[in-house]
């Protein structure tokens, strides 16, 4: 059979099988649940979400004032006469007596005060919107314009004062050439009725409608807003995006994971392995239906919210990443509960990698490391460049490719049906990638292949740490980045030492360490120049990718790190691995800190 036809056969077979196991009992119930879901959603939209009901206690002496917070379920309102209220004031988070607001001096009191202020603003706005003379109620309209400035990442490094803290009373003089700008018009270019409708629309707004507002852009008001509408970009958009796009993808990948797992339960997949098809064909064939379903689901969502189809482009690497990790988890888990926990853990990691950078989608360049940011930018109508696409998706493509490869070479009987624990099984997978004839060349390649994972982990740390105050964030980043690199470098040695006890001789260790050092450096350079130049220019970049300035120094460092861990392994066996890692990481961090401080002073 040719590769293409065997892939097709497997894909069709996979479709049929999963449809029959799922079909009979599940589909009617799933349809019923879907109907229920729609009904419940409608009910929830009608009744509202009662999550934070009654968290504040407020005492008010005037029923007219009490009406301001009537609609806000967060407040439990008690209308009491003034003197009684004052005597009992400590029982409340806020008391309002004769128009004076008193808040308890606690975190809760201040939070209640903020909530009350917002309600009051809304109430004042409602009154103003009812005015027959709109511009008496809303005399001030703001047109918000964004100016692009090129020095993004460098200028906004963590905790540092960003940009322009001005002490001088003198107006600053621009250093570059001054372009002449036409003055904005002094009149509002929008019709009064449109503005009134815009305000009426604001009334009914909830977090969800904000989101649909982004999608169906081009409101009649042309970006004009009142001062109270002026707000920094909210992260809820990204949160909702995660649920709308990522959740179905994650869900579908679970079916693929389960399908892989089912091949192993009770050795069910033996027949498949005995068939005259290559493992690659089996894996690709099994994955294709799920890939197609995920793409279709995303396309359907895109179509449903009326977004451009180009947002599917950044989703493709995400789909591949989900599928490839589902494959590995499905192949490695020992039992169902292990499968569940590992997949939940993994999905949380992946979701946070995707989600948290997007919080800063309109705020900071660091957001670009998540493909979802591209989705947000596209939805906002800004689009993304080819370079931006490469920048935020390259790691996803690279890691999925490596994971699929690892799955393919280990899709063999002795790996699939062994009853070892999760970690030793994963180690087997790694060891499986190391050839017996040319182990050092394999170690070289393996080190190069770990680079995308190392970068991904380090990117995640960057996102975690970049808003912690400056010196601390640098130290944390340096140490943890060193640790990750040492783990990645030594994993090949560890695996091969476990599988082939005789392999780890002093001579092999020396040659292996050199091979790993070279491989690591080669992979690092290759991927770095292709993608991450934006981050490498910042101080965080110099922590993570210090190794690029001079070639032989980092090479020696990489080799030394592996040698340290390897020597521990050689001398103390598996139990010495973790201490070895710690020592290697300390050496690595000291080296990095030395150069960093040298560079800074």
């Amino acid at each position: 059979m040719s590769l293409a036809s065997s892939i097709r056969t497997i894909a069709v077979w996979e479709m049929n099988r999963s449809m029959t196991t799922m079909g009979r009992g599940v589909l009617p119930l799933a349809a019923g649940l879907l109907v229920l879901l729609v009904l419940v959603t409608a009910f929830a939209a009608e009744s509202g979400i009662h999550m934070q009901d009654g968290i504040y206690r407020i005492g008010i002496d005037d029923p007219d004032v009490a009406r301001i917070v009537d609609a806000d379920t967060r407040f439990t309102v008690e209308t009491v006469s003034g003197p009684a209220l004052w005597n009992n004031r400590f029982a409340y988070d806020i008391v309002v007596i004769r128009g004076e607001v008193y808040a308890a001096d606690t975190g809760k009191g201040r939070a209640a005060l903020t909530a009350l202020k917002r309600d009051y603003e809304g109430y004042v706005s409602r009154i103003a919107a009812g005015e027959p003379d709109l511009f008496a109620g809303y005399p001030l309209w703001i047109d918000l314009e964004y100016v692009k400035s090129e020095i993004d990442f460098l200028a906004t490094q963590s905790g540092q004062q960003v940009g322009a803290p001005a002490n001088a009373r003198e107006p600053p003089v621009p250093s570059g050439p001054v372009e002449a700008v036409t003055l904005p018009p002094s009149t509002v270019p929008v019709h009064e009725e449109d503005l009134r409708q815009h305000l009426a629309g604001m009334e009914k707004q909830n977090p969800l409608s904000r989101y649909t507002g982004i999608v169906s852009s081009g409101s009649a008001t042309d970006g004009l807003r009142t001062p109270s509408e002026l707000s920094p970009p909210l992260p809820y958009d990204a949160l909702i995006l995660v649920f709308v796009f990522i959740f179905p993808l994650y869900f579908t990948s679970q079916f693929f994971m389960m399908s892989v797992m089912n091949e192993r339960v009770g050795r069910a997949g033996e027949a498949l392995l005995a068939a005259p098809v290559r493992p690659a064909a089996i894996i690709v064939g099994k994955a294709i239906p799920y890939f197609a379903i995920m793409l279709l689901v995303s396309a359907a969502i895109t179509f449903f919210i009326g977004a451009p189809l180009t947002i599917l482009l950044p989703l493709i690497p995400v789909i591949l990443f989900f599928l490839s990790s589902a494959l590995i988890i499905g192949m490695a888990a020992r039992s169902f509960k292990e499968l569940s926990f590992v997949s939940i853990f993994f999905s949380t990691l992946a979701t946070s990698y995707l989600f948290f950078p997007t919080v800063f989608a309109n705020t900071h360049v660091v957001s670009l490391i998540s493909p979802l940011t591209l989705v947000i930018l596209e939805l906002q109508g800004e689009g993304f460049t080819a370079a931006g696409y490469v920048y935020s998706t390259a790691l996803f493509f690279a890691t999925s490719a490596v994971l699929f490869y690892a799955g393919t070479i280990n899709f063999r009987e002795e790996r699939l049906f062994s009853e070892k624990s999760l970690t030793s099984r994963l180690m087997d997978f790694v060891a499986g990638a190391i050839s017996r004839d040319r182990p050092h060349f394999s170690l070289f390649l393996l080190a190069a292949f770990t680079i995308p994972f190392v970068f991904m982990a380090q990117m995640m740390l960057l996102v975690l740490f970049f808003n912690i105050p400056m010196p601390l964030s640098l130290v944390l980043l340096t140490v943890s980045a060193a640790f990750i690199e040492e783990v990645a470098k030594s994993v090949g040695l560890y695996a091969v030492a476990g599988e082939r006890p005789g392999f780890l001789t002093p001579k092999n260790l020396l040659v292996g360490a050199a091979a790993i050092g070279f491989g690591f450096l080669a992979g690092e350079k290759l991927l770095l120049f292709a993608t991450l130049s934006q981050i490498t220019e910042s101080i965080f970049g110099s922590v993570l990718f210090l190794s690029l300035q001079v070639l032989w120094m980092p090479l020696l460092l990489h080799i030394a790190g592996v040698l340290i861990t390897g020597t521990f392994l050689l001398a103390g066996g598996k139990r010495a691995y973790v201490p070895g890692l710690v020592v290697a990481s300390v050496v690595h961090s000291l080296y990095n800190l030395h150069f960093l401080l040298g560079g800074l002073v």
Binding site: D53, I55, T114, I127, Y138, K337, F341, P469
Partner: protein
């Protein structure tokens, strides 16, 4: 049913959990979520509550002012963290591009009492953390100016709002609601959801690996087996939720009424676990059971959240100390529903055990 048999099964499952280190993953998972919540806290604090971060509170920002004179200048004068520079628009925008100033406002020569609105243009740097900080500060200034303009145009207004005087509280507290209204209920209910997913794995695995025959050849009956698994899953719910509350306390987030919260979480957790067990007994196959359960879970949660005084809300109210005795009534209701479900599952389990305990569907 023999309590000792149930205990044996429960112990076996708990040992299995620790042997496979799945519990380690569960804990890692929760720690990870906590880590990222703290990330969210710091990151969002920087955005919404600029004063909260030391680095920002001392900073003063330059703002370019172009166009006609207006009362807005006086509003800016009131702030000591914003320094106004009178400039022409073109050099001001160039300086903004160089980041020598943080924002530019352009004010047209519309008189305050004009027929039409005053349309101000505000320029900010795109894609920048600082813009969010400046945005918050300038918003306050502009709101002050809006109040001023409303006063000037007051004779054209027909209705007047009730006046309220707010104290100068200084720092706004933007994260209280996030922590108490979202994070805490989420964290304490997470173990319940995890356990419910776990019971499905435990039951379907016996079917799919065909280990049920062996298990039932011992004196343990089918119902005892199911009850033991349920007990194991249930036992870890309050432990994990309690650990969360303790961790939050260590982080300086005081959670009131820890014991009642644990009671509520346990009751709700048992309800979800029983639901999972029923689904698993019906399907006997993990993919279908997990799929139906997770869809059902979304329905249950959405429905619960849409009802006032739902268990999630009760956890929130308890945590902030505004629950009142009504929460005991809710606990009674949830426990009652759980007991009913338990009877139903027990009956169903007995029937399955009698007719076809080991048949795979």
């Amino acid at each position: 049913m023999n309590a000792r048999h149930i205990g044996i099964v429960a112990k076996k499952e708990l040992l299995g959990l620790s042997a496979e280190k799945t519990i380690v993953f569960a804990i890692l998972l929760q720690v990870f979520i906590a880590m990222f919540s703290s990330f969210l806290m710091v990151g969002l604090t920087a955005m919404y509550d600029p004063e909260a971060l030391e680095g920002y509170s001392t900073a003063t920002y330059g703002v370019g002012y172009a166009g006609a004179d207006s009362a807005l200048i006086d509003e800016f004068e009131k702030r000591d963290d914003l320094i106004l520079h009178r400039m022409d628009l073109s050099p001001a925008l160039a300086a903004l591009r160089d980041r020598k100033i943080a924002a530019v406002v352009y004010v047209p020569d519309t008189p305050p009492d004009a027929e039409g609105p005053v349309a101000i243009t505000l320029y900010l740097v795109q894609n920048d953390l600082q813009s969010s900080v400046i945005n918050v500060k300038i918003k306050e200034v502009l709101q002050g100016y809006e109040r001023e303009l409303r006063e000037v145009r007051a004779d054209r207004m027909t209705a007047f709002p009730v006046g309220l005087n707010f104290p100068d509280a200084g720092d706004a507290e933007s994260f209280y609601e996030f922590v108490y209204g979202l994070l805490i209920p989420l964290l304490v209910l997470l173990p319940a959801i995890v356990s419910a997913a776990l019971i499905i794995d435990l039951i379907t695995e016996e079917y799919q690996r065909q280990t049920l025959d062996t298990l039932l050849s011992t004196p343990i009956t089918f119902t005892e087996m199911v009850a033991g698994k349920i007990a194991a899953c249930f036992a870890i719910v309050p432990v994990q939720a309690g650990a969360w509350i303790l961790l939050l306390e260590l982080n300086g987030i005081a959670v009131a009424n820890a014991v009642p919260i644990l009671l509520h979480v346990s009751a709700a957790g048992l309800f979800l676990i029983l639901l999972g067990a029923a689904i698993a007994l019906h399907y006997r196959e993990r993919t279908s059971a997990q799929f139906v359960f997770s869809t059902g879970l979304v329905v249950v949660f959405l429905l619960a959240m849409a009802i006032p005084y739902n268990p999630l809300n009760i956890v929130v109210r308890l945590a902030v100390g505004t629950a009142g005795p009504v929460h005991w009534l809710i606990l009674l209701l949830v426990s009652g529903a759980t007991a009913l479900l338990a009877f139903a599952v027990a009956a169903y389990g007995r029937r399955v055990g009698k007719i076809s305990p080991t048949a795979v569907r």
